[in-house]
């Protein structure tokens, strides 16, 4: 009997007859996500109804493993056509397995390369350095009409799938970010571990692949000494029996950057001196050289609404306050544009937000994550060099640095070898790489904090809930 979210989804699309009926709830998650996306694309579903449908979709346990939210993905005719093609293929081969249905969804979002005209590239270049610049400022500095810039950005979103996002210093709200990087004892345990981590209420992102025994889980939880102790103890208990090795990275700083210097609108050039820069012991950086958000710990004067606004801003950092307020009201927050505007200003002044440009459809099909265990000064050197890659996100802890890079497949070997070779340099203990074909999504800050309490000292929960062994033993 179907008694879960699928039965309650009020979504109708012109493609419903192509969507196979399956029993498995986790497989239905991807079919429902496809239905919502196709509904939005074809105009049969309003964004309000889609948002309600997604909140139902989030109750499916599969969401924690692969937090795809079709309402925040850029609408694209090419993606829509690929989804329809993939549904036809599922029907043709009579494929109803979880793996094939999940792949039908993920393969459709693998971006096609789409060349960029020089005029658009100039605007994109500017926006990569000034992601929050208003159209008026951009118009003044670039010498283009603001309408031209607006049209160009719209084209880049539709054709190339670029997005504007931001990183948030959650420690200011009393929520700490950790990454548990692990190596599996036995690859056969992968599904069980992924399931356990998905059920752990503080998991933001999980990455495990069939290709590698390395994986990680990004966690977000209320900052208390007792909570930290419970989590550390439980990870220690699991290391050995379940994981061959683990490293728990406490986030000290984070950053992201898009670098278009090596892109000519068609192809990417490889930064020839990347290896030398990574090894250059003379390099030292300061925060102005690399976009970096340092975690400063609890800050005064922040409210739950500020947290919600920051969470919404992550989905689309160039949205105007009125749109952010509208989207938050759909999620049950009683906020007005003026409040959003003031909150954004406050958070910017406090240095809690780092906006960045997320590139897409520009031939960056190779994705790597490297956990680099190293001394802090080596981490600084790596940060100085990582900005030369086309797209990078980085996470600094006291144990080292974790970086994610998106690079063109034609140079994937050079990038991989340059970072991997760090293992041979002084001050680096280990470099643990993972390769993926898609960027992994992340559960939104609002979803994670739904059952937490917010008080004068920020977020709090019962520290015993951070015992990971309850989910993985």
């Amino acid at each position: 009997m179907v008694h879960d979210e699928s039965a309650n989804l009020q979504i109708v699309t012109p493609y419903d007859s192509m969507i196979p009926a399956v029993e498995e709830r986790s497989a239905r998650f991807y079919l429902d996500a496809i239905r919502i996306y196709l509904g939005i694309c074809s105009g049969t579903v309003t964004i309000e109804n889609a948002t309600k449908a997604v909140s139902l979709l989030k109750t499916n346990p599969e969401f924690a493993k692969n937090p795809f939210d079709p309402t925040v993905l850029p609408l694209s005719e090419a993606v829509k056509n690929r989804l329809i093609d993939n549904l036809k293929t599922l029907t043709k081969y009579n494929l109803h397995t979880l793996d094939s249905i999940k792949s039908a969804y993920t393969f459709a979002f693998l971006q096609d390369d789409c060349p960029i005209q020089q005029a658009d590239l100039r605007i994109l270049h500017y926006m990569s350095r000034n992601p929050l610049a208003s159209l008026a400022t951009a118009s003044r500095e670039l010498g283009n009409a603001s309408k031209t810039i607006s049209k160009s950005l719209q084209k880049l979103v539709e054709r190339n799938g670029i997005r504007f996002s931001c990183l948030v210093d959650t420690s200011a709200f009393g929520a700490d970010s950790y990454i548990l990087f692990f190596r599996l004892n036995n690859r056969e345990d992968r599904d069980r571990i992924e399931q356990g981590l998905a059920e752990f209420p503080f998991t933001k992102t999980i990455l495990t692949t069939a290709m590698s025994e390395f994986g990680y889980a990004a966690l977000l939880f209320p900052s208390t000494q007792e909570g930290h102790r419970v989590l550390r103890d439980s990870v220690r208990k699991l290391t050995g029996p379940l994981f061959r090795s683990t490293t728990l990275h406490e986030q000290k700083a984070l950053g992201a950057s898009a670098n278009l210097s090596f892109y000519d609108g068609m192809k990417w050039a490889y930064p020839e001196n990347l290896s030398e820069k990574l090894k250059d012991t003379a390099v030292s950086i300061n925060s102005s050289q690399v976009p970096l958000l340092r975690c400063r710990g609890r800050a005064k004067g922040l409210m739950k609404t500020d947290f919600a606004i920051a969470a919404q801003l992550k989905l689309s950092s160039r949205d105007p306050p009125s749109l952010l307020a509208h989207r938050l009201r759909l999620k049950g927050f009683d906020v007005e544009s003026r409040q959003v505007s003031e909150s954004l200003q406050k958070m910017k002044e406090m240095g809690l937000i780092l906006p960045y440009l997320l590139l897409g459809g520009m031939g960056l099909s190779a994705n790597f994550c490297f956990e680099i265990l190293c001394r802090p000064e080596v981490g600084d050197r790596i940060l100085a060099a990582v900005g030369d890659t086309p797209q990078s996100t980085y996470y600094v802890s006291s144990k080292g640095i974790i970086i994610w890079i998106n690079v063109p497949s034609v140079n994937q070997v050079e990038y991989y070898q340059a970072f991997r070779a760090l293992e041979q340099t002084d001050g680096v203990t280990a470099v643990n790489p993972i390769m993926t074909i898609t960027r992994v999504g992340s559960r939104s800050m609002l979803d994670l904090t739904r059952n937490w309490s917010f008080g004068p000292r920020g977020w709090s929960v019962d520290p015993d809930r951070l015992d990971l062994t309850q989910y993985l033993e």
Partner: protein
């Protein structure tokens, strides 16, 4: 597409064109793209066995360099391919060796085992080949570009075939027989047929005569023709080889199966002819696909599709290599065997 068994006259008849036109195109392809019809050989009939496998270390290391150097210097190693990136993010060296059975084979395997121990401590997976095959599929090639499926359809087709592996036929594979004794003349004949399936008897005779100093006797021409026809029929399987057609990316797919039913091997064999160019080797536990692909094929996406085959008893990994090294199976081992035979006689 050229059927490897067809002579130029057969091709002309099939296409309804003159033989001289076929010959003209053929010559041009030979000149510009190195077109040849080579043979996969049943090494067992020559007293040889094909050993294939891969050595693994966590990262590029001295131990891996040492095994690679040793493999390259060993006379019966026909192919050595180091990885530049692997799906497991480790470093590997793939090898194939055609080894005379007996003391040479024992010594070779012992040496491989030595690399698993201190101070090298490498993981070495190796197996004796039971089947080999070569496929070339020019269907997706329009003369300048390849249109190779590397999307959800390819992914789905693997998933779809998964359920039917036990009934998939193993056609097009050359089964390697248990090692039997062979004369030096047979070795030379096999060497000639391996590099050119349609080699003429006069050319083989020329080679045999040039080796008379090493004690080889060229049989009468008629007998030689009979021997060649018999060998082609029993121990050689032709395949087309063509170069410089944009297959610049080389990927090795390594499969280890601990179970009994060889599902992955059958499935890969069923999918093999969907790739532009592939050499496949299958042993009792391990299977390897040596793929030549156009640069448009995303290695990571292809790997994600192939690792679907992995299961509780099956490990699947892939790696890229930047070496274009050709297999020199009998080319390496036959001179060694002849030299050894001469030393024995003297």
């Amino acid at each position: 597409m050229i059927a490897p068994n067809s002579h130029q006259a057969d091709i002309a008849k099939e296409l309804g064109i003159t033989r001289s036109s076929v010959n003209q195109v053929w010559r041009r392809l030979e000149r510009d793209c190195g077109l040849t019809v080579r043979s996969a050989i049943d090494y067992g009939k020559l007293g040889l066995q094909l050993v294939f496998g891969w050595a693994i270390d966590r990262e590029p290391s001295d131990s891996l360099n040492k095994i690679e150097t040793w493999l390259r210097s060993t006379p019966f190693v026909s192919l050595t391919l180091p990885s530049i990136i692997s799906s497991v993010m480790d470093s590997r060296v793939y090898f194939e060796a055609v080894v005379p059975v007996g003391a040479d084979l024992t010594r070779f395997c012992d040496q491989l085992e030595r690399f698993t121990k201190m101070p090298y401590s490498l993981t070495v997976e190796y197996d004796i080949a039971e089947m080999i095959s070569d496929h070339m599929n020019l269907g997706p090639f329009d003369g300048s570009d390849w249109n190779v499926q590397n999307d959800f359809r390819f992914h789905a087709s693997i998933d779809a075939v998964k359920s039917y592996t036990d009934i998939l036929p193993a056609v097009g594979m050359l089964r390697l027989s248990h090692a039997a004794q062979a004369s030096n003349e047979q070795l030379v004949l096999a060497l000639c047929i391996e590099s050119d399936h349609n080699v003429t008897s006069s050319k083989v005779l020329e080679v045999l005569e040039s080796l008379e100093k090493q004690g080889l006797r060229a049989p009468p021409c008629r007998s030689l023709r009979r021997h060649m026809a018999k060998f082609r029929g029993r121990a050689a399987s032709p395949f087309v080889e063509i170069e410089d057609i944009g297959l610049e990316q080389r990927v090795i797919v390594c499969v280890s199966e601990k179970g009994e039913n060889r599902t992955a091997s059958r499935l890969l064999h069923a999918q093999a002819d969907t790739f532009p160019k592939v050499h496949m080797v299958a042993g009792r536990r391990n299977t390897v696909l040596d793929l030549w692909l156009p640069p448009s094929v995303e290695w990571a996406t292809l790997t994600a599709s192939l690792v679907q085959i992995a299961g509780p008893f099956t490990e699947v990994s892939t790696f890229m290599t930047n070496k274009q090294g050709k297999r020199k199976a009998l080319e390496r081992v036959v001179p060694y065997a002849l030299k050894k035979a001469t030393q024995k006689q003297s």
